[in-house]
Symmetry: C2
Subunit: 367 residues, 2 copies
């Protein structure tokens, strides 16, 4: 079906239970007795089951990568990339997108019920590892009866999952696309992440992670965390071009509260995030990035996967040096890897947009 906008039209999220044959065992050794995964699929699996493309989302994404939910005002978060005739062409590929383990958009996470207690896990939800995100993805593939992936594709944290997965199971993934990703955060990256988590963990309304039992949420901390993180997702240039120094007041009429347009914008980003994201999921999905170091963990692996790495010249969250490190580490292991730094004004968020050459590279690599 081709929708009016040339995309997928109406799609819906489904759910799969992954633990019918036993608990999900995490990298830490902890077990989750019941795991559900929210997912969407687009296109059709070929009779030979060789055309599956798995899309991994970034920190605040979800299973709704493309198409439109009934009555929605905007399409899925990667709708510009995925659809009939698009770079990830649903006329050719069977595309799978899933909400991350630990998330808050349908997949089991900290606000899910712990079968052992009958109450939400809250702060007792086990700390996750990048490998655990992949374990849930793998469980979904098994559930769908897909053995091999034509490709795994992800941006930012999504690209980090793709890298972990390809190093775990190189024979299962033919092609890997990592956009604006990292194989090891810098100390500065961890520092920003630490401040965001401190904002949440030390919010008096966090209540040791049991806020939901008190009818509150750590709104203040989560909002501040999001506002700060948002700055790192965009470029200095794009903020300057979009907002400049425009403000509500003029001359000597000044105030402490929000006045500049960029302040109202960040306020809006922070506020609207509260409606769609949970504080505990924020903690559980950001933390595995700090610890991620797959080239340390998977010594001696020779990936048979072919890699395409893309970075953007204005990205200061994961600048090109991060992709260069991945390229060098993969090349040293004998993997087939290409890297391109693309020009884009939009910083880290470029992976969600359409800078020149980006979608064409993805399309060509998948073909």
């Amino acid at each position: 079906m081709i929708a009016a906008d040339g995309g997928l039209g109406i799609v819906a999220t489904q759910r799969a239970v992954l633990t019918e044959n036993g608990p999900l065992v995490l990298a830490s050794g902890a077990q989750l007795p019941h795991v559900e995964v929210a997912y969407e699929t687009y296109g059709a699996l070929s009779p030979s089951r060789d055309n599956a493309v798995f899309v991994c989302h970034a920190l605040t994404g979800d299973a709704h990568a493309a198409g439109w939910h009934e009555g929605a005002r905007r399409p899925g978060w990667w709708d510009n990339l995925i659809g009939p005739g698009r770079a990830v062409d649903t006329d050719r590929y069977f595309v799978i997108a899933a909400n991350l383990l630990g998330g808050c958009s349908g997949t089991t996470g900290p606000l899910s019920i712990d079968p052992a207690t009958g109450r939400p896990y809250g702060a007792d939800f086990p700390a996750l590892d990048m490998a655990d995100f992949v374990s849930a993805h793998r469980g979904l593939l098994d559930h769908l009866g897909v053995d091999r992936l034509h490709a795994a594709v992800g941006g930012s944290l999504g690209g980090m999952q793709v890298l972990e997965w390809a190093l775990q199971e190189p024979d299962r993934i033919d092609r890997a696309v990592l956009v604006a990703a990292s194989s090891r955060l810098t100390t500065e990256n961890i520092a920003f992440s630490a401040v965001a988590r401190a904002a949440i963990l030390e919010d008096p309304d966090f209540r040791d992670g049991r806020y939901f039992e008190h009818g509150v949420t750590p709104r203040h901390g989560l909002k501040v965390a999001r506002m700060m993180a948002h700055i790192t997702y965009v470029s200095e240039l794009s903020l300057a071009e979009k907002f400049g120094h425009r403000r509500d007041t003029a001359g000597h009429d000044k105030r402490l509260a929000a006045d500049f347009e960029v302040e109202h914008y960040l306020q809006h980003q922070g506020e609207s995030f509260l409606d769609r994201f949970d504080a505990l999921s924020y903690l559980h999905l950001t933390r595995p990035m700090d610890y991620f170091d797959p080239f340390g963990a998977h010594q001696g692996v020779v990936p048979s996967t072919r890699f395409e790495l893309i970075s953007f010249d204005t990205d200061w969250r994961f600048p090109t040096a991060h992709s260069v490190r991945i390229r060098d580490q993969l090349a040293a292991r004998g993997a087939a890897v290409e890297h391109a730094e693309l020009t884009s004004p939009w910083g880290h968020d470029s992976f969600l947009l359409e800078p020149d050459g980006y979608h064409d590279r993805v399309r060509a690599f998948l073909s």
Copy 2:
């Protein structure tokens, strides 16, 4: 007197009342009926009163720029620069340092008593302008009977005061030293500032700026603001070299709470800040930076002051482009201005440290 460390030895903070002949009128038109300024002086004013050097502090500094307070464990914040034989040589110069208007270290600020109500100003303290900081400095000079300055010297926000002052009163200041300063914040600078302020203003314990009446302080917001700001004061390189990826846990033993050394460090920075700084002062001293645009406000001024600008190659809070803008604006007005970008590993905080060539430049320029 030469102390054991070659510096000034014991010094003490004094106070001056600036409003004996009438209120201090702010740029906004608001008036402060009673203003005291905390200040220190080092060295002796020459008989011809031509050797005064005014030192302007940055956001979280105070009047105690050099020497040691009785029983203190560390000297003043710019003790490496100021003292007998040092770059700002107290054997030659009469050095004056004062706590900023709106501050919380002895000068009248938001926690001072409003004579109109008999209670602390709190949120009713008037919004300040960079020009108001200068008005208080000027009042102190008058109080001390100093007509002209041999030099005004400042780093970061201190340099911004120096620039404002030199454009207001070019005939009063012979030399101006601006280190790691800015004449107009970028949109990104304002964005970081906005998040820091939001963390404080929206902390439930801020209580509309009357927290002190409730026996609380917006600890959470102020701590998060400081932690975030601190990241922007240091370089990616210095964080990486100082802390790397060292952490308390090992292997799969991971946690959400602080674990990496850089997290403990930021926690310490945030906590210790609470002991020495007030949340309302933080708001009132950061906000004037966002609005600062002296080349817009002082059109047509031809400064007779000679300017020395210094920036640092790893400073990403006020990168060299900020100093280049000041140089170009001053040069276009016909001012004598020199700018040097120095190599330093330490980012914005370099102005408080001793990167190669820095103190020598200041010394040579003052001579």
